[in-house]
């Protein structure tokens, strides 16, 4: 069991990184990675919400939708649950943990429409994960998002200091840098299976 969990975490963080190999959550990846502090805040919020969303949607699917033959409703149910969850988390944080709210709160509304959150909920169902595996996958996916975002914010700071051909300035050079970062993650393919063989 421990081995399976480790495999899920390492796969989600390294080989099947949510941002760099599955293209989930590209908007915040490109938009919020300009500054390290906002990258950390955003990814903290994403880890939190992805774990929670996995923990809530998997039981809903297993115990409510699947027994009643309502699998086809999963997209609509999941997005409503996630939207409600984000709202709830925001209200609860504001009321009970103001310091945490100040750190993460401003990023929460953005997360409802972040494909990584709905993506992890749907992937858990596709892979047939149970409750624990889903939560672990959600957490691992969030950590993968953080790794990618923090690494990339470092890369972008370097880019800003250099002279870039005029046509490439702005978005194009960011995308090409992302391509190189993504290429480096391709190198992890096969590593995870080897580690825990």
């Amino acid at each position: 069991m421990m081995r399976e969990i480790l495999i899920i975490v390492f796969t989600a963080v390294l080989t099947e990184n949510f941002v760099l190999s599955q293209f989930l959550g590209i908007c915040p990846f490109l938009g919020v990675s300009k500054k390290l502090s906002s990258a950390v805040g955003m990814s903290g919020a994403v880890i939190f919400v992805m774990t929670l969303a996995s923990a809530v949607t998997q039981p809903i699917y297993q115990f409510i939708l699947a027994p009643n033959g309502l699998e086809y409703l999963n997209t609509i149910v999941f997005i409503i649950v996630i939207a409600a969850l984000v709202q709830l988390v925001e209200t609860a944080l504001k009321r009970y943990m103001p310091p945490l709210y100040r750190a993460l709160g401003i990023y929460l509304p953005l997360i409802t429409t972040n494909c990584a959150v709905l993506g992890v909920a749907l992937l858990n169902i596709d892979e047939g994960y149970g409750f624990i595996e889903s939560v672990v996958n959600g957490f691992g996916g969030g950590v993968g998002f953080m790794v990618a975002l923090i690494m990339f914010s470092g890369v972008r700071e370097r880019i800003e200091r250099n002279n870039i051909p005029k046509a490439l300035q702005g978005l194009p050079i960011t995308l090409i840098a992302a391509s190189i970062v993504s290429l480096s993650f391709t190198g992890f393919a096969g590593v995870v299976e080897g580690l825990f063989a």
């Binding site: 760099l20 190999s21 599955q22 293209f23 989930l24 959550g25 590209i26 908007c27 490109l30 938009g31 919020v32 990675s33 300009k34 500054k35 906002s38 086809y72 409703l73 999963n74 997209t75 609509i76 997005i79 409503i80 939207a83 409600a84 401003i106 990023y107 509304p109 953005l110 409802t112 429409t113 972040n114 494909c115 709905l118 993506g119 749907l122 992937l123 596709d126 700071e157 800003e160 200091r161 005029k166 046509a167 490439l168 300035q169 702005g170 978005l171 194009p172 050079i173 960011t174 995308l175 090409i176 992302a178 391509s179 190189i180 993504s182 290429l183 391709t186």
Partner: protein, 266 residues
Amino acid sequence: MAQKSKTDYKKIFLLGIFQENPVLRLVLGTCATLAVSTQAVNGIGMGLSTTFVLVGSNLVISLIKDLIPERVRIPAYVTVIAGFVTIIQMLVQAFFPSVNDALGIYLPLIVVNCIILARAEMFASKNPVGASIIDGIGMGLGFTMVLLMMGSVREILGNGTWFGIPITANLIDPMLILILPSGGFFVFGCLMAVMNLYCDRTGQKRAELSCQSCPAASACSGCKSCASKEESPVEEARVAKAELEAEVLEDQAADKAAEGKEAEDK
């Protein structure tokens, strides 16, 4: 009168395809663009599915825009969009199972494609039904066009085929990397660079990833902190450096002028 509204529709339609192309000009829907553009046929499937959802959601949202309270409008829009996504999901599963397998979870993820929410927020909630439908069609086709373009480039160069038909497969070794995720970023980066050149030539504003195009902007108080250029320390350093260089240049110019004067005096 009828003539006038006709021309308006045409303008709205063309805006979506060229001037305000959702991917190239507004930088929306990047996730879907990068993920499904490994093959031209996937691009068409994804593009047309998105167009269907976009037209449907624009239609319904512009019909019910006056009934939705301001505060809950985003969840209401998302629910409408999710309904249409479920419909298209079932249609694709029934009639095009191979497309469904190729698109995988990206088909249900149309729900969170920012193009749809952004058009609901920026267009359908402010405009009448007819214009909203036309806007949906234009935006959807603009999106399909970009997906087809990127899908073709990646498939021909990365796999040597186009729509599954061998083109260069037997002549040169395909560049596999373009099919890999990093190739998606690379091709999109090149495409945006070409767009930048075009914008500079025609004197238009370059496409930037900004809060203005983000559908959640009105709900998000983080826009000010989400990295505006003026605040970034690196940018400040750069500005300071540029000023310093300018000063040095001025000094040098002054020195030269003084030298010239001295020489003249002699």
